[in-house]
């Protein structure tokens, strides 16, 4: 192999001396290069062929699309203001409670999912909770919870809390797994108990990021709370869904603008909180 590489380099040097030079190929083996290119082309053809487009329907929808874009120029906040406010309050309360509950539950799960402080059985259980919570979209969980707990914001809140557990616990566990172990040992060396170790060695190292992540998750939960209403789990999503199916685009535009504004506000304030805690 090294002989081959040397010969190759020698050939390239000779060529460069003559003024012939091409960029080094990203993939060295030529057949593999062609195989990958061919694979991509074949996939694109197959995939695009399986996309069926009903052009008559698209043409019909175009005017609706234009109307919708036009609605952003004059969004209608007023005519459904009652519904919008109710939906918003539900969304915001769901966001807050689910984040708080989710983070509180995520802490023990995260501790359990960190290989360096948890015993193996606990580790396996906690990791599978995380896997299940992360794999399924919030909306699927919401469907199940709506069946179990009935329509309304409670199902939504539980959904978001469940999703928060998976998200936070995974990141928290990763954080704990690569924290600075010398500090932990230093505290242990003073004769501290397990709880004291947690409190004095691990918590200070993990806390700033935990707060930052919670703020980030608050932001995500708000965005998610705007969709789980579609399956009946409460929030602004239900209002949006109704307005869209009634073709009241000016109201939908208003709701979307409100969502964008709140997300912006969330992001702005969370960056402040993060700077403040660090």
């Amino acid at each position: 192999m090294s002989e081959h590489a040397e010969a190759y380099l020698d050939a390239r040097q000779q060529a460069a001396r003559q003024g012939q030079w091409r960029r080094l190929p990203l993939i060295h083996r030529q057949w593999l290069r062609w195989a990958i290119a061919l694979g991509v082309v074949v996939y694109l053809i197959l995939a695009l062929a399986s996309v069926e487009v009903n052009w008559a329907r698209v043409a019909e929808g175009t005017s609706r699309g234009l109307r919708f874009i036009g609605a952003f120029a004059q969004p209608d906040f007023m005519s459904r203001s009652g519904d919008i406010v109710d939906g918003l309050i539900e969304s915001l309360t769901m966001t807050l409670t689910s984040t708080v509950i989710g983070v509180m539950l995520a802490i023990p799960v995260g501790l359990g999912a960190a290989r360096n402080i948890a015993p193996l059985p606990v580790y396996v259980v906690c990791r599978s909770i995380i896997a299940v919570s992360r794999t399924f979209q919030e909306i699927i969980i919401a469907i199940l919870f709506v069946v179990m707990f009935g329509f309304g914001p409670l199902a939504g809140m539980l959904t978001l809390a469940f999703a928060t557990i998976g998200f936070m616990a995974k990141l928290l566990a990763e954080d704990i797994e690569d924290l600075d172990w010398r500090q932990v040992e230093a505290v242990r060396a003073t004769g501290a108990s397990w709880w004291q170790t947690m409190n004095h060695a691990i918590q200070p190292q993990v806390m700033p990021r935990l707060i930052g992540l919670s703020m980030y998750r608050l932001d995500i939960n708000f965005r998610e709370s705007s969709v789980i209403g579609i399956v009946g789990a409460g929030g602004i999503g239900a209002t949006l869904n109704t307005s869209l199916s009634r073709y009241e685009y000016d109201t939908s535009a208003a709701i979307l603008l409100i969502i964008i504004a709140i997300v912006l506000l969330c992001e702005y304030s969370s960056s402040h909180v993060r700077r403040w805690t660090q």
Partner: protein, 271 residues
């Protein structure tokens, strides 16, 4: 100072000063009352009769899901293929659009501050709106089908890829860029030689990461009619065929695990 002197003249050490303590106490009080208030709103809007019934409902659901109706899997291959296509083509389309937007949004490559704020606005609106909402909008415009799903995923991906990419662009080393401009290179050549090689690994990583997220998201787009396995899910739920739903769940779970594994492998190889 955290160290003060007690009435007996013995120095007392406290973690924080009293004023900070009060502030912290106030913040906790405020937070807890806000939480309780929110809880009350939710509790008022909840039919607690149903909730008391939740355990029985849950076990009922579980018993109907079990055993899964495995033969149903045979008609799921086509929807699954559609789901993969929605995710992959949507990601590709989103990346193609996000790439220029990111360069326009990064402080060090934008041609004009006005263009920059416009690009940032595109990124924010794309990020704030969930792909399911995009799908809902597009279904009313384009009609139900895979196309609406692809475009919904693409529109949502612009914001995600665009934001992470423009942050990566803003963090590049400025000296190679300076060196390339000193050779008399044009603007595009500076981007191509000075900026692009520096952000390429980040860009590839972000794209694969988004593809992985998009697989997950495209499994549910069918709930609003935008194609893929979500259509089957919706149909099975509406007919209360829970033993089919469990088959769909297993398939989604497997697909997501595989895509997550692929994305982790690829990102590992890049970095």
């Amino acid at each position: 100072m955290p160290v003060s002197t007690s009435p007996h003249g013995i120095p007392v050490w406290r973690l924080r000063t009293t004023r900070a303590q009060w502030l912290q106490f106030g913040a906790w009080l405020l937070g807890i009352s806000l939480f309780l208030l929110c809880w009350k709103v939710i509790s008022d809007n909840t039919m607690w009769v149903f909730v008391e019934d939740a355990g029985r409902q849950g076990s009922d659901l579980l018993s109907r899901m079990m055993p899964p109706k495995w033969e149903y899997a045979s008609i799921l291959w086509k929807p699954m293929w559609d789901t993969l296509n929605i995710a992959t083509l949507g990601t590709a389309l989103g990346i193609v659009m996000a790439f220029p937007v990111a360069f326009l949004a990064a402080r060090n490559t934008t041609p004009h501050p006005l263009v920059r704020s416009l690009a940032l606005m595109v990124i924010v609106s794309s990020r704030s709106i969930n792909s399911l909402i995009w799908a809902m909008l597009l279904v009313t415009i384009l009609g139900p089908g895979v196309l609406a799903g692809i475009i919904a995923i693409a529109l949502r991906s612009i914001g995600f890829v665009g934001k992470l990419l423009y942050e990566a662009i803003e963090e590049i080393h400025p000296t190679p860029v300076e060196a390339i401009s000193a050779t008399g290179a044009s603007r595009l050549q500076i981007m191509n030689y000075g900026v692009l090689p520096q952000v390429m690994p980040a860009f590839a990583g972000i794209s694969v990461y988004r593809w992985d997220i998009n697989i997950r998201e495209s499994t549910v787009l069918g709930l609003v009619g935008a194609g893929g396995i979500g259509l089957q899910l919706n149909a099975s739920i509406n007919t209360l065929a829970w033993n089919q739903v469990s088959v769909i769940f297993v398939m989604i779970f497997a697909t997501v695990l595989v895509s997550e594994w692929i994305s982790a492998r690829v990102r590992h190889a890049i970095i």
